[in-house]
Assembly symmetry: C2
Homo-oligomer: 365 residues x 2
């Protein structure tokens, strides 16, 4: 593995859309006792179900700590590779490399990671194990790696259409916890030079009470070039309404890198999901401050799905909108089977299916 | 990775000779403070030199603990893959899989490992991390794995010619610390059914004072089918003389699986090597018992070389026989460059170049 200090865009590399063909997918076996209730037992079963589904149409690599390796290996299908790798938590989207390609070669980008805000408003300390994973994963895959550690970014805060357009949120990328010394223009230039895009569409905020500072991948994502789904509620009394309406207005007033107007499909939200007393009881207190307060609203959203080669896997919450979300996405992904999996046990950790996955685009071995 | 409980031989698989073409080689970055003097600093530089040489003609995978990963990555060439993997010590020959092939597919064998003798006369406790490596390495390489954990064996205690013949020692395989419930005949059958051999040549003992209970790879190895090198001294007052003479007699009285008489090339030993007071001072005492006693004779031998695709890498001890060993091996390996590297810093750990390497035979990806 070579460590590269050049610019991916200048080298002719760009980030493909998630709906392009994948080589596979990376996940991290959950273990953190203040993220996952009851020692992650329920979360592990949800991860295993998700991995079973993804691995039916692409390769899956699961990173497990030394102490969790045997259990992960036992719970996962033979066709899944389990590799030993230390981590602080289990958000592959945010700590695995962002992969870029020039059409024939694949390379990884190693962003700086500071647990969603570092000492300003990050979610745990320390985060050194997480921050070392991207490079290790490049080495594992025998891919060269761009050193972008001086720029703090999580994979969940960006989406691309693979044709020059990037979606993100100001709430996250301009927050004080990431790159406070950089202007909006400077950050936009960095996104263009690393991800091979020429147009950045900035939404204002993400899902209400999303502890990632409003990651784009929980509120809006591309389903094809020029088309997005947007998390939506018609309830004007819900604080989410104003946020989603603001996104809608921006999107409808935007064109993409190819000059197309963005077509927005509304994806209804489930009714607000609140963590229960019992669920909070199951979260260990690892650093003197509880992760969650009983009754706290969780950032539940159907947008947090994963697009595998032959399936789209969508979180379900036991809500009446569960099947509606599946139906809408089935219409938008006609060549893939849209499968819902019950994901409350993932949501409690603070994210969802998209957050715990990172696709590896197809490459020639 | 599938875990297989069938017999490799019955499945048509056998262990190729080390002098066959390799895909690559596995090593483990040294760290154990009671094996490697002064926190393994000198050993790491010797490992790095060896890895540099091997990686010039085959792929190299280096397993490093989480805490050593960054240093290993920094000291090793880009072309080497460093993967995070926990270990108790650094003897890839004995803890990595033994690979077998049917000519088109490669599989690994996961033997039981008990630190060279378990609670009877093993060299450290616990050894759980080491014992889990073979399976993880198969998973990493996407190769199916034979579960032979109920049989205790180290890779350093066997050599094959790739044509049906296996070399080993009674001192090691019949010792009380490995498989005390098995007869010599039962062990021989196990070797045949797992390694695809039909003839086992049993030498009596290995190198004098070799703490592995006389591993074959320190005293005798194949250089081509029907030909071996044997560690040799002409000094009849050296306790090694009787051991080597006994080996010579057995070898000269043996035929291999193809009915060939074995041709023996004597490889001179260096003059006895003893560990110094200073060197012992540099070994931490991790479990109440020092690893070595000042003045203790180390099991130095030129036979402990590694055969890479284009090089044979031979330990050197600053002895007058160093260049003679290189010359003899140059004659026996006419298509490879024979390179000596100063290996006292590896020897202090209790083995040498062959012990810290494990070849992966060539395979189609």
């Amino acid at each position: 593995m070579k460590i590269l200090n050049t610019s991916p865009s200048a080298d002719g590399f760009y980030m493909p859309a998630e709906f392009s063909q994948h080589y596979g997918c990376i996940l991290i076996w959950p273990h953190r006792r203040d993220s996952w209730q009851n020692g992650a037992y329920a979360a592990r079963r949800a991860f295993a179900r998700l991995i079973e589904l993804i691995s039916s149409s692409e390769k899956v690599i699961v990173c497990a700590r030394y102490e969790d390796y045997d259990e992960a290996r036992r719970l996962l299908p033979d066709r899944v590779r389990v590799v030993e790798m230390s981590s602080d938590d289990s958000w592959a989207r945010d700590v695995a490399p962002t992969f870029v390609t020039n059409g024939s070669e694949l390379r990884g980008i190693d962003w700086g990671f500071n647990a969603w805000g570092g000492l300003y408003d990050g979610l745990y300390f320390p985060w050194d194990k997480d921050n070392k994973m991207a490079r290790k994963l490049c080495d594992l895959l025998e891919k060269d790696c761009y050193d972008c550690r001086s720029f703090i970014l999580e994979g969940g805060s960006i989406h691309t259409d693979g044709e020059g357009t990037l979606l993100t949120t100001e709430e996250c990328l301009l927050g004080r916890g990431r790159n406070p010394g950089m202007s909006k223009q400077g950050i936009e230039q960095k996104l263009c030079s690393t991800l091979g895009v020429s147009k950045v569409i900035w939404l204002r905020r993400g899902i209400y009470n999303d502890e990632t500072n409003g990651h784009i991948d929980n509120i809006c994502t591309f389903t094809s070039p020029g088309e997005v789904v947007l998390a939506w509620t018609d309830d004007k009394n819900d604080p989410q309404y104003k946020i989603s309406k603001e996104c809608l207005d921006i999107l409808e007033g935007s064109t993409d890198a190819k000059g197309r107007r963005i077509r927005v499909h509304k994806l209804p939200l489930p009714k607000p999901v609140h963590i229960t007393d019992d669920e909070c009881e199951g979260l260990d207190n690892m650093d003197g401050e509880p992760t969650r307060t009983p009754g706290e609203r969780l950032a539940a959203s159907y947008v947090n799905f994963y697009i595998a080669n032959k399936a789209v896997i969508v979180p379900q919450f036991g809500d009446e909108n569960d099947s509606r979300a599946v139906d809408i996405l089935s219409g938008l992904f006609p060549t893939r089977e849209v499968v819902g999996i019950y994901a409350r046990d993932i949501l409690i950790g603070g994210g969802n299916i998209h957050c715990i996955t990172q696709q590896i685009p197809e490459f020639e071995k």
